[in-house]
């Protein structure tokens, strides 16, 4: 990502907005967390989140800075298929709806995705899964923190490290104070801000430029963006679909919500959240197609959204973009901090270091881990250097595609296929990630998830077909959600 020559928002206005929203999020976090007495309260918001908050948190978490900034970039680079392909990311949420119901049924007292993998597949696969999951989680955390610093710098001229530090500190504080309850509560407000802001900018762009002018100027200057037979864009569409599904199916961000949503809420919340998320990349991305008609020179593709907003609406557009981006960053960073700290607490601290840890000890540990995660992320994001494999937010995002897509089939098979082989699940993730990464470097960023998912599917199906390992589903509910880890070799059903 490249900074703009001139920030689109005065620094003093940006500081005022940062201060106002930071105070709001921290105050809300403290207020919402006042009744967190147990680890389940803190990590899972009491396990009874209703439909409104559940749907909003699913949407808010899935709308990241990547959505608000990369959707316009993809529309500018891949045209109509770019924004339509990005919107297919919604299928991840929609397809996770039945899984969320199944997860809640099989593990009514579960905490993390790691809990499930450990009980379902055993220690080896659990550790492979933790590797995949933590690589993805840290990658996403660091990229979000970096995106925060870069975007605040590009939009308002505030120093990269200062902006990154502010947004990360604010998210750490309110996640620490209120746990998942604070995350979900702030997500609701952030969802309304993000979607309302994106829709407002889209309507203003339509009103100012009009479809006829947008279409005419694109045909004159960039006709490939209107093509329905753009091979790289069509490949991207399928890759993005698998990438989105992989991200959601494996990540504890989504599993912790499945455990936290009230009984019978998970299915409806993920379905509704997915359906309402579907149009957001189109709304956010479409504005990029107006650049030829507006005569905008775009120095950095991933800054096209703010440029159009500033051109169409001036200072008001810059303020709207800044608030939307800040809300999008916070809604994803807080979710990642909470879900990753839960995963580290349950699966590393309790699973590997202190197996006898009580609920109280886990509550204390998860708070310490949130702070440590924040510090680690700050350190990594502070000393960003030249990252050889990534050139933009989109490329960074899809680098993790190989890892996440390789986890799709082990998760699905683990939830629905009684004979799924635990070793096959581990090798599906290892080989899928390896070959997916190889394809990322040898072919292109747009095929990493595609290859990772394909390899993983073949390994999972072949391994289970050759060496089936029947499993007793009742073991997931019966076996201790809260007892020490270690006695976790999957049982063969008799």
């Amino acid at each position: 990502m490249t900074a703009l020559e001139e920030p689109i928002l005065p620094t003093s206005v940006a500081w005022g907005l940062l201060a106002a929203f930071s105070i709001l999020w921290v105050a809300l976090g403290a207020w919402l967390g006042r009744r967190n007495y147990t680890a389940a309260d803190h990590m899972l918001a009491g396990r009874n989140v209703g439909l409104a908050l559940a749907s909003a948190t699913a949407m808010a978490t899935w709308v990241t800075a990547n959505t608000t900034m990369t959707a316009p970039q993809l529309a500018l680079e891949l045209g109509v298929w770019g924004m339509l392909g990005y919107s297919l990311g919604a299928l991840g949420l929609i397809l996770f709806a039945p899984l969320a119901r199944r997860i809640r049924e099989l593990m009514p007292h579960g905490f993390t995705s790691g809990d499930f993998i450990r009980l379902r597949y055993g220690t080896f696969t659990w550790r492979v899964f933790l590797g995949v999951s933590l690589i993805y989680a840290f990658g996403w955390l660091i990229s979000m923190a970096m995106a925060g610093g870069v975007l605040i710098n590009a939009l308002a001229g505030i120093d990269y490290r200062v902006g990154m530090t502010v947004i990360l500190t604010v998210c750490v504080i309110y996640t620490l104070l209120g746990g998942l309850r604070a995350v979900i509560g702030t997500d609701f407000i952030q969802t309304v801000i993000i979607i309302g802001g994106a829709a407002f900018l889209a309507w203003m762009t339509i009103d100012r430029v009009g479809f006829e002018a947008i279409h005419f100027d694109l045909m004159e200057e960039r006709p490939e963006l209107l093509s329905l037979l753009f091979p790289a864009a069509i490949m991207f569409l399928f890759n993005n679909l698998l990438f989105g599904v992989g991200e959601i199916f494996h990540s504890n961000v989504w599993w912790s919500r499945a455990f936290a949503f009230g009984r019978n809420v998970g299915f409806r919340a993920y379905l509704l959240g997915g359906l309402l998320w579907l149009p957001i990349p189109i709304v956010a991305g479409f504005v990029a197609l107006a650049t030829p008609a507006l005569g905008i020179n775009v120095p950095a593709a991933d800054m096209v959204g703010p440029l159009v907003a500033a051109e169409v609406l001036g200072l008001t557009g810059a303020i709207v973009v800044f608030i939307v981006v800040f809300a999008a960053l916070a809604s994803s960073l807080d979710s990642l901090l909470a879900a990753t700290s839960d995963l580290v607490t349950r699966d590393i601290y309790r699973g590997h270091i202190h197996p006898q840890a009580s609920q109280e000890a886990q509550l204390r540990a998860t708070k310490v881990i949130v702070v440590l995660l924040g510090l680690l992320t700050w350190l990594a994001a502070s000393y960003r250097g030249e990252v050889p494999v990534v050139g933009s937010l989109a490329a960074l995002l899809y680098f993790t595609g190989a890892f996440v897509a390789s986890a799709i089939w082990p998760i699905v098979a683990g939830l629905y296929w009684r004979r799924a082989n635990p070793q096959a699940a581990a090798w599906a993730m290892l080989l899928g990630s390896g070959l997916g990464l190889a394809s990322y470097f040898m072919i292109g960023w747009y095929v990493a998830a595609l290859v990772g998912a394909a390899v993983s599917l073949v390994v999972m199906v072949a391994g289970t077909w050759l060496f089936p390992r029947p499993f007793d589903w009742d073991r997931l509910a019966r076996d201790d959600h809260d007892a020490p880890a270690g006695r976790d070799t999957p049982e063969v059903a008799t």
Partner: protein, 40 residues
């Protein structure tokens, strides 16, 4: 094969309309859950 202007406009208008109505729907659901005491 190029997307016609009417198709592009239809897709964008539908998406923007849904996005505009989404905050209203979420707030309505929030009020319903709050009245029923099932917000959390």
């Amino acid at each position: 094969m190029t997307i016609p202007v009417t198709a592009l406009a239809t897709i964008v208008i539908i998406a923007t309309t849904v996005a505009t109505l989404t905050p209203i729907l979420l707030i309505a659901l929030f009020i319903r859950d709050w009245k029923r005491g099932c917000l959390w």
